[in-house]
């Protein structure tokens, strides 16, 4: 997965994406003509002030929500051509998700939660890969425990592992560290970074925190539903400066 060829392919893309809420005078454009590519094997962060459309963008690319106009491609497939079942299978097999909170099914054990997408598809997945993922999570003997018996950080790590389990083309994470303390947050971000570097995954992450954003290869800045800036190989200081200059 680390070959240079894959590195240049596009895992997901939008072109002229528009998401409109309401109509007429009161219309809100959560996304206002956004075109962006997410390259395979890259860790992208999306930043912007509250209400700028970060979550909306992510939900639309991931097939959780529909665009008003424009198109979204995942792995070369136009999501608007898929029906509910095909969309579900797409999410199950080619997309991974990490949410801010409540990522896990309370009745299933940590390991079952990690395997959930595979179990839903009645597949066993690649055993070596799963083992590698589980080892990387580092839960050790707590794999058989229910989510309620795990700490918030452990729960988020399980969520990341779940997102990785199917070897998806792309993983979306919406403020994955928003609910944990900074040490645990760093732990999770390091883990995600390793997934990109060592396992060759593609990750798109929404965050408010410059330090978190600095873990990414590339940052996209949104404001009022538009892309207003982009930064490669960021550092926390650079990000902070840019945020100041963007006036948010």
């Amino acid at each position: 997965m680390n070959s240079p060829l894959v590195n240049t392919t596009v895992a997901a893309a939008t072109s002229h994406a528009v998401k409109q809420y309401g109509s007429g005078d009161g219309a809100i454009y959560a996304l206002n003509d956004i075109s962006v590519d997410f390259i395979s094997g890259q860790f992208t962060a999306i930043m912007g002030p509250s209400g700028s459309g970060k979550s909306t963008l992510m939900h639309c690319i991931a097939g959780l929500d529909q665009l008003t106009s424009g198109s979204t491609l995942i792995d070369g497939v136009d999501l608007s051509t898929l029906n509910d079942k095909e969309l579900t299978l797409m999410r199950r097999e080619r997309i991974g998700f990490i949410f801010q909170a409540f990522n896990l099914v309370p009745t299933l054990s940590a390991e079952e939660n990690i395997r959930l997408p595979l179990l839903l598809g009645n597949k066993s997945g690649d055993p070596e890969w799963i083992k590698k993922v589980i080892d990387t999570v580092g839960l050790g003997n707590r794999l058989a425990h229910r989510p309620s018996e795990l700490s918030g950080g452990q729960q988020q790590r399980v969520a990341v592992a779940r997102a990785l389990a199917t070897q998806p083309r792309i993983i979306f994470a919406d403020e994955p560290t928003g609910n944990v303390d900074s040490t645990t947050g760093t732990e999770i971000l390091t883990f995600m970074r390793r997934a990109v570097d060592e396992l060759g995954q593609t990750i798109v992450m929404v965050t408010h925190d410059p330090v978190s954003a600095a873990f990414a290869d590339r940052i996209i800045f949104l404001a009022d539903g538009k892309i207003v800036d982009e930064m490669l190989e960021p550092t926390a200081t650079k990000v902070l400066d840019r945020m100041k200059s963007l006036g948010s």
């Binding site: 299978l89 999410r91 097999e93």
Partner: protein, 850 residues
């Protein structure tokens, strides 16, 4: 707080609606039962008031034998009484009256009216007496021995016209008559759908009862005396040796109404017992819904507590909601009862009982009872959850999913064990000989034990039952299994209505299959003939005894023996008691029907003798040769010598006499069945043909082979079983609704989880599967526990019948299997709507919730 509570109620209309449904179902049946029985009573009261509208006096015999169960046999009076009454000053007109069994045979050779259930078939008298209720609408009054009139409704139905020949079967045998008139009964064409063959009084007397005798005399006053004075005067004027009594029109109306009222009240009681069962089952649903919503509102209640609401205020708010639910539910249930009552009338109509038109009776006591019962039941069901809600600590609010904890499992099991143990102790006491009434207490204790233990066992049992689902359905099945087990209290409360319903169904099934086996056993032991001919399943009417004689004369028949039942007053230990006595033909019964006579042939029974059962002999210290005074229903008295004692009394009862005893009496006697033994070597088909020939000549009677006959006897239990199943059906519906409501609430509460799973790749059909299996597991949980409890209950009931001669215990394997399958189906059906709702969960909204 009151305003806040009320606002809370109105803000959650869906929840209010769901909770109310449980109340509606429970109260609707109660209301429907009341409305229906009131309507029936009023209808019949009106009917009899109409029948005796023109009657000022009613003359009948004062001699009556009451056999209990509303059955009585009154002595006939001589036909000459009519003329005697007519001549009494103050009487302006009188007519003889007869109402007896008669069955009209249709043009297709089939008797009119339905077998078994359905309205009766009557033969009656008609005259030009001015108080006569029957009015000829076409043709003329029948006046000759070969003429008859018929009620309008059935004449139309059977396509009979004036001038047709009509065959009728009655006590006098079967006979052809000429249809000379069509009659209407007062304003209605035929009362209650019964069929009527109408004759002039002499023909009616000879053909329907006994030549020269009638049931009673109806009379009208000329107005010079009050009805009461006239009645006294008539009684005084008639010869005392006639033993007659005279009732006023009002008295006979009242008496008839009371008689029917009594029979109806049995029916009404039966209905209301089952409606209270349904209501009890409904209680669980209401209790469950309140518990779940209370748990779901924990956070909201904790917030109220944090900002200063007291425990009492929280509890009050919950109770206010319960009262709102109670009012809405009972009022709706009250009116839903009207629909149900209409449905019940519809069912009656299907069986052929046509109620005269009239609107449903919506009495005040119905309104009061239903509203009060509905309210009380709702508030009682809500008290526990309301108290629990008040106990919510102000800061224990940040739980993400509602969990009503199962409390201490050990304590629960211990309390349940204590109840169960005391139940078994009581049971043991009964087995050791204590009163059967205690069995009811034992059952109640065990039921309570099971319900208390429910939450403790719900988790392991659900996990066990859900195992195949997990294996079959992979992750969705496994998730369903976990969902069913995650909230044991909720699951067991949801399963409780199923449990109660199944336990009752199971117990009834056990009882029925045991009785069926018992009947089969008794009949195959006692009936040793080849064929039987049965009168239809009514308790009155039957074959003219000459049918048995005719069959005996057939060439292929070795012997045929008639069986009848009569009512008589039997003097036992100095007291006269009315008893059913079996009437046999001692000369033919041998080798056909074995009543287990001890060391004597049935032929020993003579006109002057009686056979009694061992039990009757022991109870009344009678021995062979003792004399018993017996008064037959015509008032004739006979001193009978005990000529034999028998042991098989299950079918013939305690007292058996010879048909010869009735020779020379005025008792109209029928055979209820005729048993036939064919000659050796005669083919079944040949004898069937010749028997059918004779039966057809008589018009009625069902020919059955021995095995058919035994099967039919055993299947009579099925009718009762069907009725009880039907009545329990409402409890089952409530159980289903309970599952639906619980699942809807669970789905609502797990929105986020469902959204998450949809996001990571669960298809809609997988969502549905998960909900469906959870429902199936819950339903099966109730069914499995209910079956176990029902088996126990069935055993207890059968045990309590041990004195009635039922000694076996048959486990209905097919029945158990069917119940399991049905519970499975119930689970699937109940899940349909909640599963649909689960697929409609808005992904983004679910994920946005925190």
């Amino acid at each position: 707080m009151f305003r806040i509570a009320l606002k809370g109620v109105l803000a959650r209309k869906a929840r209010l609606f769901l909770t109310s449904i449980a109340v509606v179902l429970g109260t609707a049946f109660l209301s429907g039962t009341y409305i229906f029985s009131d309507t029936l009573t009023t209808t019949f009261d009106q009917l009899f008031a109409d029948i005796y509208k023109n009657t000022d006096g009613y003359v009948r015999s004062s001699k009556v034998i009451d056999a209990g169960f509303g059955q009585e046999e009154r002595q006939l009076i001589p036909i000459s009484t009519i003329d005697l009454v007519r001549k009494i000053p103050g009487v302006s007109g009188a007519a003889g009256n007869i109402q007896a069994f008669a069955r009209i045979i249709g043009k297709d050779g089939k008797p009119l009216g339905k077998d078994g259930i359905g309205p009766p078939t009557f033969g009656s008298s008609i005259s030009n007496y001015k108080g006569e209720l029957w009015k000829i609408s076409k043709g003329v009054l029948p006046t000759k021995p070969d003429e008859l009139a018929m009620d309008d409704v059935n004449a139309k139905k059977a396509k009979f016209q004036v001038g047709d020949s009509v065959k009728v079967v009655a006590a006098g045998g079967s006979r052809m008559f000429k249809l000379v008139g069509i009659a209407r009964h007062g304003d209605v064409r035929s009362p209650g759908g019964a069929t009527f063959a109408l004759f002039d009084i002499n023909t009616a007397s000879e053909f329907l009862v006994k030549s020269g005798f009638i049931d009673s005399v109806l009379l009208q006053s000329d107005g010079t005396l009050s009805d009461e004075e006239l009645a006294v005067k008539i009684t005084a004027a008639l010869p005392t040796d006639l033993d007659i009594e005279t009732l006023t029109g009002a008295q006979i109306t009242q008496e008839t109404q009371d008689g029917v009222g009594q029979r109806l009240s049995f029916f009404a009681t039966l209905l209301s017992v089952f409606s209270f069962i349904a209501l009890g089952v409904g209680c669980f649903v209401i209790y469950n819904v309140f518990s779940i919503t209370a748990a779901q509102r924990q956070r909201e209640n904790a917030l109220f507590r944090a900002i200063g609401a007291s425990k009492r205020q929280i509890t009050q708010a919950m109770l206010i909601e319960a009262i709102a639910v109670g009012i809405i539910g009972s009022v709706t249930g009250l009116f839903a009862g009207v629909l149900l009552a209409q449905g019940l009338s519809g069912v009656l109509r299907v069986t052929g009982i046509d109620l005269p038109p009239g609107s449903l009776v919506f009495a005040q006591h119905t309104v009061v009872t239903v509203l009060i019962v509905g309210m009380v039941v709702t508030v009682i069901s809500a008290i526990m959850p309301a108290l629990r809600a008040g106990k919510v600590p102000p800061l224990a609010a940040m739980r993400s999913t509602a969990l009503d904890t199962a409390g201490s499992i050990r304590r629960r099991v211990m309390i349940a064990a204590a109840f169960a143990a005391s139940g078994f102790v009581v049971l043991l006491a009964v087995i050791r000989g204590a009163d059967n009434v205690l069995l009811g207490i034992a059952i109640l204790l065990v039921f309570i034990a099971v319900l208390i233990a429910g939450p403790a066992v719900a988790r392991p049992v659900s996990l066990f039952i859900g195992r195949p689902a997990a294996r079959l359905r992979g992750i969705t099945g496994a998730m369903a299994r976990q969902n069913a087990a995650r909230n044991p209290k909720r699951t067991s409360r949801t399963a409780a209505p199923v449990l109660i319903g199944v336990a009752l169904v199971m117990a009834v099934t056990v009882l029925a299959s045991t009785i069926r086996a018992e009947i089969t056993d008794i009949f195959s032991k006692q009936f040793t003939g080849d064929f039987t001919i049965n009168a239809d399943d009514r308790f009155f009417g039957g074959f003219n005894p000459s049918l048995a004689d005719d069959i005996n004369a057939l060439p292929g028949v070795q012997r045929a023996s008639g069986f009848g039942v009569s009512i008589a007053n039997v003097s036992l230990s100095g007291k006269s008691k009315s008893k059913f006595v079996t009437v046999i033909d001692p000369q033919t019964i041998d080798g056909i029907f074995d009543i287990g006579l001890i060391a004597i042939s049935p032929k020993a029974l003579t006109k002057e003798g009686i056979f009694i059962s061992q039990k009757a002999a022991d109870k009344n210290s009678l021995i062979l040769g003792s004399t018993i005074a017996v008064e037959l229903s015509d008032g004739s008295e006979h001193d009978l010598i005990v000529q034999g004692i028998y042991v098989r009394d299950q079918l013939v009862g305690g007292y058996t006499v010879s048909r010869q005893l009735f020779e020379g009496t005025v008792v109209s006697r029928f055979d209820a069945a005729i048993f036939v033994l064919k000659k050796d070597g005669v083919k079944d088909s040949d004898i069937r043909t010749s028997l059918t020939g004779v039966i057809n000549k008589y018009g009625t009677g069902k020919l059955l082979s021995k095995s058919e006959y035994i099967k039919k006897q055993a299947s009579q239990v099925n009718q009762l079983l069907g009725l009880i199943y039907g009545l329990l059906f409402l409890s089952v519906i409530i159980a289903i609704v309970g599952i639906i409501i619980t699942l809807l609430l669970s789905v609502h509460e797990r929105q986020r989880e469902i959204g998450l799973m949809r996001a990571v790749g669960m298809t809609k059909s997988q969502v549905r599967t998960t909900v469906r299996w959870e429902s199936v597991i819950t339903s099966l949980l109730g069914a499995v526990m209910g079956i176990l409890l029902g088996l126990g209950l069935g055993w207890v009931v059968i045990f309590s019948l041990r004195d009635q001669g039922i000694k076996r215990f048959t486990v209905p394997t097919t029945g158990t299997f069917v119940i399991l399958i049905l519970s499975f189906i119930i689970g699937v059906i109940a899940a349909a709507y909640p599963a649909h709702r689960a697929t409609k969960v808005d992904l983004l909204a679910a994920l946005a919730m925190t």
